[in-house]
């Protein structure tokens, strides 16, 4: 299959859909069926993506990272330095394209139902298209500059979509917060790019002149700055993937319409950070990897803990997303490219599913909630909720009932499809062994981390492994908490329960499809064969072992015999053998462990929320300090709003004054001196020099002018005195001189 035209179509289709909208609206009109335009465009893109994937199927080995096809042309020819723009096509790209187009198409379809009746219905789809374009552009770019461009564009789309219902203050604030927070990370990324550019005079990644090729020749002396550069680039990912400490925007982003949350804030954009980090894999050094791993690990754990105490169904999912992204980062940091991307894809599907599911619940529930009044943009109201992050109260105050799990319960009877599909997704994210894709990817990560720990004997990795495992338990716990509170048990709010109904078909279908995708078939099939782990020349492990690990890990789980793996590179028998032994160790520990994890997690939440053996409130009461901490999300928002933002704004205010007074106020300084100089003309200086050097100069000169005027007394004899004085003075001076 021809690559360039297909990719071009993939990009242009959604772009065209958006352009159509934009141009039309210049004339002040909208096309009411924008939804069809966008959806069709997306489906076209999807088809192309599938076609492209056949290339990978055709020649799996060729299209691995080092055989990547690159079609680029010069974008900024400056003369000696040139910036190029182009397509990079390898197996990873192919997979990403597939994931993005699938999720995006499904979300489009879902939205047709969900957003129905919204006054800005066409605009919504136009923005979705723009987003899809940006995301796809990001995925296919072959160089950092291109990635950065796509990167910022998805940011804007997220801004526009979060703030889609901008009449509300909450979305208006949320979208600004999202943009600013990610922007902070992006600046870090940009600085990283500057460092790389200054060193390599290019921003292309692959090819002989690419960054990777050049970076591989770097010596130990360069490791420090390379690590710094790596971490800086990673900053961008931290922002976009909502890693700690820049994670606070994601929960607020839930102010956007739920399909947006599903597409942007679960499946694609937030995953872009992971994608970027993965792309940067070859230039990661031991240090930068460790940083990434820790950020990932901590995020995974912290976010999970916060999720436990949320009652807003979307918030729970948001924190779970953050946590899962942490897992992915952890994997890449731990040196397993494959595990990371693998989890990315699996997560994309089941998390999208979870969001859409929650969307359908909210939809239903909301309809119930407002059974009486048929106001049009009901979906809009459906997503209302407080972002008052300071609400330390533990009651449901401020949370939209339609999203408050404490109003739900027993919905399985009313919404079977939603229930089943969401259950599947939950099982998947919880990592129920073998049957669900989530298990494979999460397991792969755990194995990798543990494997590093063993083979390097590295304490760090043992710690990280601990975090990950714990996070996994908690994940299982809060996810089932969600299921139990929502679908199981008895309805808590009878009136709303009665109003609830299963979502219409065009919303249900996407759920079903995604549910199917949450089984490991697709993911395993796509990953086991095609994605290959690039080298990390700067992490000094036995080279081949390094190379093997990712492969081996996966093969191990996919039940491919290690012999096969070894056969792939016979010339490293011993090393391979050695690494395999470590690897088996890891594997043999993790697989049973994950059984334990799942059991503990689900069991506990069942005890709490299904059989009601324990009362959550009682525990909460006993552990109140911790509970408070979790409820307030570790006070990150307070920190940022209270300190950083406040400081900046205050600072700017000060500077504003400074500009008004001081630049004018070089002025006061000089002014005072002059005043002292000619105190008798103080009258001229009485009025303070409010504004500007000019005023000041004017005042001084005027003052002097005034003096000179007064010398002009009008009495002729004074004039004559001046003459005589002048003459005498001149004579004296020049007498002295000569």
């Amino acid at each position: 299959m021809p690559i360039v035209p297909l990719i071009s179509i993939i990009l242009l289709a959604p772009l065209a859909a958006f352009a159509f909208f934009a141009l039309l609206s210049l004339t002040g009109r909208n096309y009411s069926r924008q939804d069809l335009v966008s959806t069709v465009a997306m489906l076209i893109a999807f088809v192309c993506a599938v076609l492209l994937f056949t290339n990978v199927v055709a020649e799996p080995d060729k299209l691995s990272h080092d055989g990547a096809e690159i079609h680029s042309l010069t974008w900024l020819p400056l003369g000696s330095v040139n910036f190029s723009m182009g397509f990079l096509f390898d197996s990873v790209t192919a997979v990403m394209l597939l994931v993005v187009t699938i999720v995006s198409s499904l979300v489009h379809i879902f939205s047709i139902g969900y957003m129905h009746g919204d006054p800005r219905y066409p605009r919504f789809f136009a923005f979705l298209s723009l987003f899809s374009f940006s995301m796809l552009f990001l995925v296919v770019s072959d160089n950092l500059l291109g990635i950065y461009i796509g990167w910022e564009l998805v940011g804007v789309c997220s801004y526009l979509l979060i703030g889609f219902w901008f009449e509300e203050d909450a979305p208006a604030n949320a979208c600004k917060k999202a943009f600013m927070t990610t922007r902070v990370g992006d600046v870090g990324m940009f600085i990283g790019m500057m460092m790389l550019f200054t060193k390599f005079r290019t921003l292309s990644l692959y090819g002989d002149e690419g960054i990777f090729a050049l970076a591989s020749n770097l010596t130990a002396g360069d490791m420090t700055w390379l690590s710094v550069a790596g971490v800086l680039i990673f900053c961008g990912a931290v922002g976009k993937s909502a890693q700690i400490p820049l994670h606070t925007w994601l929960p607020d982003a839930m102010e956007g319409p739920t399909p947006v949350s599903a597409l942007i804030h679960a499946a694609t954009m937030v995953a872009a950070g992971v994608y970027l980090t993965a792309r940067m894999f070859p230039i990661l050094t031991a240090d930068s990897s460790l940083v990434i791993a820790y950020v990932g690990g901590i995020t995974a754990l912290v976010a999970a803990t916060i999720a436990i105490v949320r009652f807003d169904i979307k918030r729970v999912l948001a924190y779970s997303t953050i946590s899962q992204l942490g897992f992915m980062m952890l994997a890449i940091g731990a040196g397993s490219y494959i595990a990371g991307l693998f989890h990315l894809t699996t997560h994309a599907f089941f998390k999208a599913l979870l969001f859409l599911g929650s969307g359908s619940v909210i939809h239903a529930f909301h309809a119930a909630h407002h059974a009486h009044d048929h106001d049009h943009d009901h979906a809009h109201d459906a997503d209302r909720e407080d972002t008052d992050t300071h609400a330390a109260a533990f009651d449901s105050f401020g949370i939209d009932p339609a999203q408050d799990m404490r109003h739900m319960g027993g919905l399985r009877h009313k919404m079977p499809i939603t229930f089943v599909t969401m259950l599947i997704a939950t099982l998947s994210i919880a990592g129920v062994p073998y049957i669900f894709s989530g298990f494979w990817s999460k397991d792969a990560i755990l194995v990798e981390v543990l494997y590093r720990a063993i083979s390097w004997g590295s304490v760090h990795h043992y710690i990280l492994f601990g975090m990950a495992a714990l996070a996994a338990v908690i994940t299982a716990f809060y996810m089932f908490r969600l299921i139990f509170m929502t679908f199981m048990g008895e309805p808590r709010n009878q009136e709303m329960y009665d109003g609830a109904h299963e979502s219409p078909l065009k919303m249900a279908i996407p759920l079903i499809i995604l549910a199917v995708l949450s089984f490991p078939i697709v993911n395993k099939w796509s990953f086991e064969k095609y994605v290959k782990q690039p080298e990390q020349p700067h992490i000094h492990l036995p080279k081949h072992a390094m190379y093997e690990s990712g492969q081996g890990a996966l093969q191990a789980q996919l039940g491919i015999s290690d012999a096969q793996a070894a056969a792939e590179d016979v010339h490293h028998d011993d090393a391979a053998a050695h690494h395999d032994s470590d690897h088996d160790k890891a594997h043999n520990i993790v697989v049973p462990l994950s059984f334990v994890i799942v059991i503990i997690g689900i069991g506990l939440s069942a005890l709490f929320y299904y059989w009601k053996r324990f009362s959550a409130d009682a525990v909460a009461a006993r552990l109140r300090p911790i509970y408070t901490l979790l409820w307030n999300k570790y006070y990150f928002d307070e920190l940022y709003d209270g300190v950083l933002v406040a400081l900046t704004v205050a600072g700017s205010k000060v500077l504003g004054l400074f500009d008004l007074r001081f630049i004018d106020g070089i002025v006061n300084g000089v002014g005072v001196v002059v005043q002292a100089g000619c105190s008798r003309i103080a009258g001229w200086f009485d009025n303070t020099f409010v504004d500007g050097l000019v005023n000041w100069v004017a005042k001084i000169t005027w003052a002097v002018g005034g003096r000179i005027r007064r010398v002009q007394t009008g009495m002729i004899q004074n004039y004559l005195l001046a003459v005589v004085g002048g003459v005498v003075l001149l004579i004296l001076i020049f007498r002295a001189l000569f």
Partner: protein
């Protein structure tokens, strides 16, 4: 050249004298007094004189046993002065403040002043210099005080004569010392003798210094340079506006002619011992600064222009301290340009004084709506005085500063240019009043076509000379002739 033989080359001056007499007689003869006849006679006289001067030509001749010199330099100034005088006459016709009854004498006196200025431009002997200076002064005193029943005018005349008498007396004392040292009155001889004396070393620097400083007092009073400027604001304000215009241009020009003759062909060699060029540099810096600063708070436009002309005197003086022909050329060019823009500005002042009856800036408020053409031309004159391209003033400023910087007197150049920024500030005050503020009464003013035509006579050169001023340069070079060695 002996006396009799000189007479043919002295025709212009003679013409002036004759016409002065004729004007008086005509005035006595004519039945209805205060007709414009006298004025037109005076004009004719001026025209004839200038034509005569031009016809006689400008190859160097020394007349009346070295009393006066006939050269391109003198011719240049004669023309300038005549133009200024002619303009003054035309202004006077349109001025309402002058008493018609006495206009006869008035024009006669104008011609007399012109005669004196002709001589100032051409005299090469200490005696002649002093005589011409006094001729001009005495007549100017009278003209300044010409407004009968106007206290301001009389006061102006009083201050003018007191100041003038003292400083010219001082100058005469300096001249006497110079005469004593060199034993001659012929400035050419003086310079050569001074040269010898310096080379032989038998000279009293103090004496030279004294005489030069005293002479400077006289010259400085004519060109109104600090500290000898103090008479001019009062006199300019008190005198009839046409006379003010006349003094600010013609009298300054004549003063510079005298200055250049005396200091360049007479005392250049003295610069070695008494660094008078430095002295003058300081004086010029002071002059423009004081002039500009004092102009800032002025409300009376006449007075404001008086101060502005003081500062322009300082500008001109910059060219005189360089001891280079570029410097002198700059002076000549600047004088031509200054002639147009300054006279133009004063003419507007006259018109406004006539129509609005106000000399203060408030009288100019909202002028653009009442008399657009006048307002625009005034703006042109003022911006040209500031020295903004593409107006003539910029050309003058440009040449001047080019000359100064060429001599690497950067400090002087910087002071001068910063002054031009200050100058902008007070010129713009008038512009602001005319364009940015609104008039109290808005009925539009009407002016005679004659006035408007006359206005254009000043506007057009102010515009054109800014765009193409090469001829000025050539002219000035030619006029300088052999003056610089």
């Amino acid at each position: 050249m002996p006396n009799i033989a000189s007479i043919p080359y002295f025709i212009p001056e003679i013409v002036l004298v004759v016409f002065a007499v004729v004007v008086i007689l005509f005035d006595l003869a004519s039945k209805k007094r205060g007709g414009e006849g006298a004025a037109y006679l005076a004009l004719i006289g001026l025209v004839v004189a200038v034509i005569a001067a031009i016809v006689i030509g400008s190859e160097d001749r020394s007349l009346f046993l070295g009393m006066v010199r006939l050269d391109s330099f003198a011719l240049f100034f004669k023309v300038i002065i005549s133009v200024a005088t002619a303009a003054t006459v035309l202004f006077s016709i349109r001025s309402v403040e002058l008493d018609p009854a006495t206009k006869g004498e008035y024009y006669a006196l104008l011609l007399a002043v012109t005669l004196g200025m002709y001589l100032m431009a051409s005299s090469t002997h200490l005696l002649m210099i002093y005589l011409s200076l006094e001729t001009v002064s005495l007549t100017s005193y009278i003209l300044a005080g010409f407004l009968t029943h106007s206290p301001r005018s009389s006061e102006a005349a009083f201050k003018y004569i007191t100041f003038g008498a003292v400083s010219s007396g001082t100058m005469l004392f300096g001249i006497s010392l110079l005469f004593g040292m060199t034993g001659t009155g012929d400035i050419m001889l003086i310079s050569s003798r001074l040269g010898e004396m310096f080379s032989q070393g038998n000279v009293y620097p103090l004496a030279v210094l004294l005489s030069i400083t005293f002479i400077l007092a006289g010259v400085g009073y004519k060109i109104a340079s600090v500290p000898f400027h103090m008479w001019s604001p009062d006199v300019y304000e008190g005198a009839p506006i046409p006379i003010t215009a006349f003094l600010s241009v013609a009298s300054k020009a004549a003063g510079f002619a005298l200055f250049i003759r005396l200091f360049y062909s007479g005392l250049q060699s003295a610069d070695a011992s008494v660094d008078w060029s430095l002295m003058l540099a300081v004086v010029s810096a002071l002059t423009m600064t004081v002039g500009n600063l004092a102009a800032l708070p002025q409300q009376n436009v006449k007075r404001l222009l008086a101060y502005s002309s003081i500062s322009h005197g300082g500008f001109l003086l910059m060219g005189g301290v360089l001891l280079t022909s570029e410097g002198l050329q700059a002076i000549l060019i600047y004088l031509i340009i200054y002639l147009f823009m300054n006279l133009g500005a004063f003419f507007v002042v006259i018109l406004i004084a006539n129509e609005v009856g106000s000399e203060t800036i408030d009288g100019y408020r909202g002028l653009v709506s009442r008399a657009p053409l006048i307002a625009v031309s005034m703006a042109i004159f003022l911006f040209s005085l500031t020295g903004l391209p593409p107006l003539a003033g910029f050309a003058g400023k440009w040449i001047l500063f080019a000359a100064v910087i060429k001599e690497q007197l950067y400090w002087l150049a910087i002071i001068g240019l910063l002054n031009s920024v200050v100058a902008l500030y007070y010129y713009v005050r008038i512009v602001k009043a005319m364009f940015l503020e609104t008039a109290d009464d808005t009925e539009s003013l009407s002016f005679s076509t004659g006035s408007l035509v006359l206005l254009l006579v000043f506007v057009v050169p102010t515009l054109l000379l800014g765009i193409y001023w090469n001829p000025l340069y050539e002219l000035s070079r030619a006029s300088l002739g052999k003056l610089m060695g």
